[in-house]
């Protein structure tokens, strides 16, 4: 049980009190929120689009964080749930003319169900074996989407083109800006819900399972129920992110949801700090922007440059953004004392 546990207990920087350590202080939260709300007013549409993708991948990383950081289970299969969410939204919008906002809860519910069902057999597995089982799910998904049987709905390998929604009520916002604020509202909602979930009785049960499964069951936690529940919640949030992603990108195709996406999300979680929810945004920024930086440094060796940058991060700050935040906090405290 594994790396999650080690990550959490190894270094003094991330010792105990996970309940509070999971979030930012009120002041910092407000600053971040203000930045997220105000920045789009001053930048180009392209940057707004990138910020939208930042929030969307942030949500997906957050979902994985609840699963791994919260309940200590691994998943390399998040891309599969992301794909199901994306396709649910795309199919509902394009084949049934459902309003885009209404497709998201549907995507969430379907993915919750898929995650919950997948969680049932996966329960028997733990650690690396669970990671492998979810890996299988991620590899299978793009091919399932190509199946002739579903082709009428999924568009097969050609994928589906999704129409981007205009701002409602005649608001004077560009499509990109509207979608950004729409995504931001959903992200904030899910973030607050996730924080509350982890602080609640269920959240404590997740963490008890993560820290010691036997002790948790001795205390009366229904281990199997909470493990599958964590899977379901994580999949559901990933599904909503996938649906938003489909609307933002305006296109879904099997090639967009390969195992590479699952690994990217996993990477984002580690870079952001396992179990530290605000780190999800940092992790998401890492997986979106660092490949671009790497490409800027060397086109032919972009993969190698990315590898070096990733290695540096893991080597210098093994606990990711969370460690950076803690160091900053300590520095600030020191300055105050002086």
């Amino acid at each position: 049980m594994s790396a999650a546990e080690e990550v959490v207990t190894e270094a003094p920087a991330v010792e105990a009190v996970p309940k509070r350590a999971m979030t930012l202080g009120y002041g910092t939260s407000l600053v971040v929120l203000a930045a997220l709300i105000l920045t789009p007013l001053f930048v180009k549409n392209f940057i707004i689009f990138q910020m939208t993708m930042l929030l969307i991948y942030g949500l997906a990383v957050l979902a994985l964080n609840i699963l791994t950081g919260g309940s200590g289970q691994f998943s390399l299969g998040q891309s599969a749930f992301y794909a199901i969410g994306a396709y649910t939204t795309a199919i509902l919008m394009e084949h049934f003319n459902v309003n885009y906002a209404l497709t998201l809860p549907v995507a969430g519910v379907i993915c919750f169900a898929a995650g919950f069902l997948f969680g049932q057999p996966a329960l028997r597995l733990s650690g690396v074996y669970l990671a492998l089982a979810t890996f299988a799910l991620a590899t299978a998904m793009p091919q399932l989407l190509k199946l002739g049987f579903f082709e009428h709905w999924t568009g097969g390998v050609q994928g589906l083109v999704v129409t981007k929604p205009d701002a409602p009520f005649g608001l004077p916002l560009s499509q990109d800006m509207w979608l950004y604020y729409f995504t931001l509202a959903i992200t904030i909602g899910i973030y607050i819900a996730s924080v509350n979930l982890l602080r609640s009785r269920s959240g404590r049960a997740f963490m008890a399972i993560r820290d010691n499964e036997i002790a948790a069951s001795a205390m009366g936690v229904d281990v199997s129920l909470y493990k599958t529940l964590a899977f379901g919640v994580s999949a559901g949030i990933t599904g909503v992110a996938g649906g938003l992603g489909a609307i933002a990108v305006q296109f879904v195709a099997p090639d967009g949801y390969t195992i590479t996406l699952a690994i990217s999300l996993f990477l984002g979680m580690v870079v952001g700090g396992v179990g530290w929810l605000p780190g999800s945004i940092v992790g998401s920024a890492f997986i979106i922007f660092v490949p671009n930086i790497a490409e800027g440094i060397s086109k032919g060796l972009s993969g190698a440059v990315f590898g070096v940058l990733l290695f540096l991060v893991i080597f210098l700050v093994p606990h990711g953004a969370r460690q950076v935040a803690l160091i900053a906090q300590q520095l600030a405290a020191k300055l105050k004392k002086n």
Binding site: Q50, M53, G159, V161, V249, Q250, L261, S302
Partner: protein, 409 residues
């Protein structure tokens, strides 16, 4: 000071007036963002990493060719600034890169972005923005659709045209053929299969004995070949990418199946397919092409091929000359230069599409003799001709006329 300013202002006003009044005489330079007196910005998206990274060579060849053009003085005095990004063949990334090119780098157009799913992902966006998406690097049939997507244009002969040509040949010469088809289970394979069935028309159902598909992830397609063989077919249409094509040719020889073998031109390279499969096993295979195969000895003294070799020696010496993608990138970059030259000093999105849609009988050094680039406002398929060829000894022997199987999207 102020007097000078005033005088300059008057002069400017006079010049402006002159320019307006003399109308065409001064043939105003007109630009959309991305073009200036000294520069033309061209965007491009290629899978330099990821599963399709073998095609990244195309982007590198194009960059080398534009370097050559710049070294020789540019186009009408303007240097090409070629900005090429990596999308790893992932459509969401393609959208991000396309938006970066259009909105942040402010390119004049996006040229030869690669792959059917990536191009599908940005087609709607490009057409909403009215920025040309020119000469996309995919053989799918849907790019020839000027009515719905007036800002998107294909380049190479599409897959359906090619398989229609084979189907017509079979109907004419082997009307009683029993056909076996092997295809890759993706957009490319299915596009070929559709063209083939359309070409056979009502006889498709009775002539095609068996269809087998394989996944790119399969290590070997031997079992499929055995299955096709056991169906008793005497014509084999082989819709496979190079690695699998070589396997299929080899396996056919091993089990002694000698059907009339049609091989899609995707895999017609002598150097990368037929040699590895064994030239003796590849005799009498029929395929088609529109590009000269650099590994084919018959072009040794061809002027087009000599020019190509000189270009590579000077600007891209590390290129693998047996890779058909190098010839492809070279030819399509020439097509791009032709269009920009034709635009003259009017480098607006509209004029670029207008010039791209009025190419007449353009012949390029890398194209087979007799194959010409042709477009019109209703025909957005620049290359639509192919010539059949049969493999004899160690080279392709072209036979029959230049054929056209023009299909709209």
């Amino acid at each position: 000071m102020s007097a000078i300013h005033l005088r300059l202002g008057a002069l400017a006003a006079a010049v402006a007036l002159l320019a307006v009044s003399s109308g065409h005489a001064l043939a105003q330079k007109r630009y959309d963002v991305g073009a200036t007196d000294t520069e033309i910005k061209i965007g491009n998206i290629m899978p330099y990493s990821g599963p399709a990274s073998a095609y990244g060579v195309i982007g590198k060849t194009e960059a080398a060719y534009f370097n050559k053009i710049n070294a020789e003085g540019g186009i009408n005095g303007r240097k090409i600034n070629f900005i090429s990004y990596d999308d790893a063949y992932s459509p969401p990334k393609t959208v991000e890169q396309a938006r970066k090119l259009v909105e942040s780098d402010e390119v004049l157009l996006i040229f030869n972005s690669l792959g059917t799913p990536p191009n599908t992902a940005i087609q709607k966006y490009m057409n909403q923005k009215k920025v040309p998406q020119l000469f996309v690097a995919t053989g799918a049939t849907k790019w020839n659709d000027p009515k719905d997507f007036p800002w998107t244009m294909g380049w190479q002969p599409n897959y359906q045209s090619e398989s229609i040509i084979y189907a017509r040949y079979i109907l004419k010469n082997h009307p009683n053929a029993r056909i076996a088809v092997l295809y890759q289970n993706d957009d490319y394979g299915k596009d070929y299969l559709k063209g083939f069935k359309d070409g056979l028309g009502s006889k498709a159902a009775s002539m095609i004995m068996i269809e087998e598909s394989y996944e790119v992830s399969e290590p070997s397609i031997d079992s499929h070949i055995v299955k096709l063989w056991s169906s008793g077919a005497d014509v084999f249409f082989n819709i496979t990418t190079p690695k699998f094509a070589a396997q299929a040719i080899k396996k056919n020889a091993e089990i002694g199946w000698k059907p009339l073998h049609f091989l899609n031109n995707v895999s017609s390279s002598v150097g990368s397919v037929l040699k590895p499969a064994g030239l003796e096993n590849a005799q009498d295979i029929i395929s088609s092409n529109y590009l000269k195969d650099p590994t084919d000895p018959q072009w040794k003294n061809d002027p087009g091929m000599i020019a190509w070799n000189e270009f590579l020696d000077k600007y891209y010496p590390e290129a693998n000359r047996s890779d058909a993608a190098v010839m492809y990138g070279y030819t399509v970059a020439q097509g791009m230069v032709h269009v920009l030259k034709a635009c003259g000093d009017n480098l607006t999105h509209e004029n670029i599409m207008k010039q791209a849609a009025s190419i007449r009988d353009l012949e390029l050094g890398g194209l087979l003799p007799g194959i010409k680039v042709n477009t019109s406002p209703t025909d957005f398929a620049p290359l639509a001709q192919l010539q059949l060829m049969r493999f004899k000894g160690d080279t392709w022997e072209r036979f029959g006329d230049i054929l056209s199987g023009d299909v709209g999207g």
